[in-house]
Amino acid sequence: MSSIITATNLVKQYPGVLAVDNINLSIPAGICFGLLGPNGAGKTTTIEMLEGIHMPTSGDVLYKGEPLGARYREEVGIQFQHTALQEFLTVRETLELFERLYQHTLPISELIELCSLGDIIERDTRKISGGQRQRLLLALALINDPELIFLDEPTTGLDPQARRNFWDLVNLVKSRKKTIVLTTHYMEEAYALCDEIAIMDKGRIVSQGTPAYLLSEHFGDVVLQIPATDAGNKLIESGLGAVAAGDQLEIRTNSLHHTLQLLMENGVNLDRLRIRAWTLEDLFINVTGKKLSP
């Protein structure tokens, strides 16, 4: 698959802060690429250099093999983390304003349907909810029918229902063969939407690949969880390396069959045993040594 956008040796130096430290990225066309990291990891700085909003201190960004230029502005769609809109305009008028800024655009009626804006189309943009606002901002990012779409933390601050609705919308956009570059704090969001992810920390990419590949690479084992009340001291004494995690005891093993046999031999009650899969959250803690916090 050919790359739609590549970044080579990308560096952004602010006075006293190296925000992005020699990043290399190559994003294939048609995928959803997730950039993950805690606050201050350099995600937004990186994505804004890819967007052409900020110039890198050094390094190159190429779109379809060419430096970013006028064509890029016409073919890219961007949803910023924080965006104010022109005040006193309705949703429709806002769409019409941005429609006139591009040569090639999608019909507004199609965007209204795609982003479910029909109910609020004549409403003042200052009087719409957070979820409705994110849908409008996505519609603006899609107005020029872009091949490449940047979504910078698009669901931060939304309630769980609005977040899931937004994911459905992003999946709908993905089905149109668009390339999406997404930054997020939410691991479940990255898992639900992204075909490939890069984890950033302190301005560098510390791990990159498909979610499944990264999980298998970092975690060859599984975790067994047993309520502490069911196991008692038997489990601690069994030599299986059980550790307390809240009211549960957790055992990591890469030989599930053998471990279960040992537990039964030790008379541990397995009625409430659970096998927990590793998550991207675990992966993140594993590679950065810190927790993600929105």
Binding site: I53, E74, F80, L85, E96, R100, L101
Partner: protein, 335 residues
């Protein structure tokens, strides 16, 4: 052109739907003109004004008693004709030419001129040759109107444009526009034209409305007045755009706008005439677009000046508009 019109339309809608700002923009100049017209309707002045051609020092030699008379302000003039016009319009009480055999000009319909003539006769002035000038008085409100409307336009131009762009930059709207194919010049031009249209419409409404009550003196052409005020507004909007081109803080923008507006307000002749002020102050005043707009508007309205007569002002206003807009577009930052 499509992009420019889109931004222009959106900005116009934003302004027109912001009822509180729109009401204030309309109400304030009305209140100022009507209020000041009543306040100054008596036209009281504390001192008499005598224009001197040939030098005030020369007057002191020729007529020392007159020169030392208190409560008379002597204003030096290089040329005779503009000074005679001042006497004609009651803007000056008397003119004395001491460059040759001393002469004085007096407007027979001016009460101040009548009284001053009797004072002058009590000094060496009774030997001066008497010249008569005929002409109706220009009421203070007629002199004052171009200044007050000009000043209102100045605030609307500078603060209206400057603060709006800084707000757009601060809340990220400019960053969103930067991500589109819209160019900086197209954006700034749309802001300029939007503000210009709104200011000209508001000023026309205020002028027409006040004219119903006060009936302003209008000797010249409304078209020339429209040209001069449009160029003046353009020039001042361009200054606002230049100030806002780089600034991200409303506090800083407010400070810079105040630094620009206060000297313009005091020195442009909007509130009071600079005749009699230090020469350097008069020269400094010429750097302000408001000075040129108000001077040209007064000349058109009160003296019937033609386009060719106000052409120097027109050139200055055109040049400053182009220069400030070009620099503003060059240094403009979306973020």
């Amino acid at each position: 052109m499509k992009k420019f019109l889109a931004v222009l339309h959106a900005r116009n809608m934003e302004f027109l739907r912001d009822r509180s700002a729109l009401s204030w923009n309309l109400a304030m100049p009305f209140m100022l003109v009507i209020g000041l017209a009543f306040t100054f309707s008596s036209g009281n002045k504390d001192i008499y004004k005598i224009g001197i051609v040939g030098g005030v020092d020369r007057l002191a030699q020729v007529a020392p008693a007159l020169h030392s008379t208190k409560h008379i302000q002597f204003i030096p003039y290089d040329d005779l004709q503009p000074a005679i016009d001042k006497v004609k319009h009651h803007q000056m009480d008397m003119l004395i030419d001491v460059s040759g055999a001393p002469k004085y000009w007096i407007n027979t319909s001016s009460p101040n001129g009548y009284l001053l003539e009797r004072i002058v006769w009590g000094t060496e002035g009774h030997q001066f040759e008497r010249q008569i000038v005929e002409g109706a008085e220009i009421r203070y409100v007629d002199w004052f109107l171009p200044g007050i409307l000009g000043m209102n336009m100045m605030f609307a131009c500078l603060f209206g444009v400057g603060f709006v762009i800084v707000r757009y930059r601060k809340n990220g709207f400019l960053k969103r526009l930067k991500a589109t194919p819209l160019g900086a010049f197209q954006f700034l031009l749309a802001q300029l034209v939007s503000r210009l249209l709104l200011i000209m419409v508001i000023t026309t409404i205020v002028y027409t409305g006040c004219n119903l009550f006060i009936e302003f003196n209008m000797q010249g052409s409304y078209w020339v007045l429209l040209l001069v005020t449009t160029l003046g507004a353009m020039s001042m909007i361009s200054i606002g755009l230049l100030i806002a081109a780089h600034t991200a803080s409303e506090e800083l923008a407010g400070g810079i706008l105040n630094i620009v507006t206060w000297p313009m307000m005091l020195l442009s002749g909007a509130w009071f005439s600079l005749e009699g002020a230090q020469v350097w102050v008069q020269k400094l005043a010429l750097i302000f677009p408001l000075t040129h707009m108000v001077s040209a508007a007064r000349a058109i309205m009160n003296e019937g000046a033609t386009l060719s007569q106000v052409m120097p002002h027109v050139w200055v206003l055109t040049a400053t508009s182009v220069i400030f807009l070009a620099i503003g577009a060059y240094v403009f930052k979306w973020e």
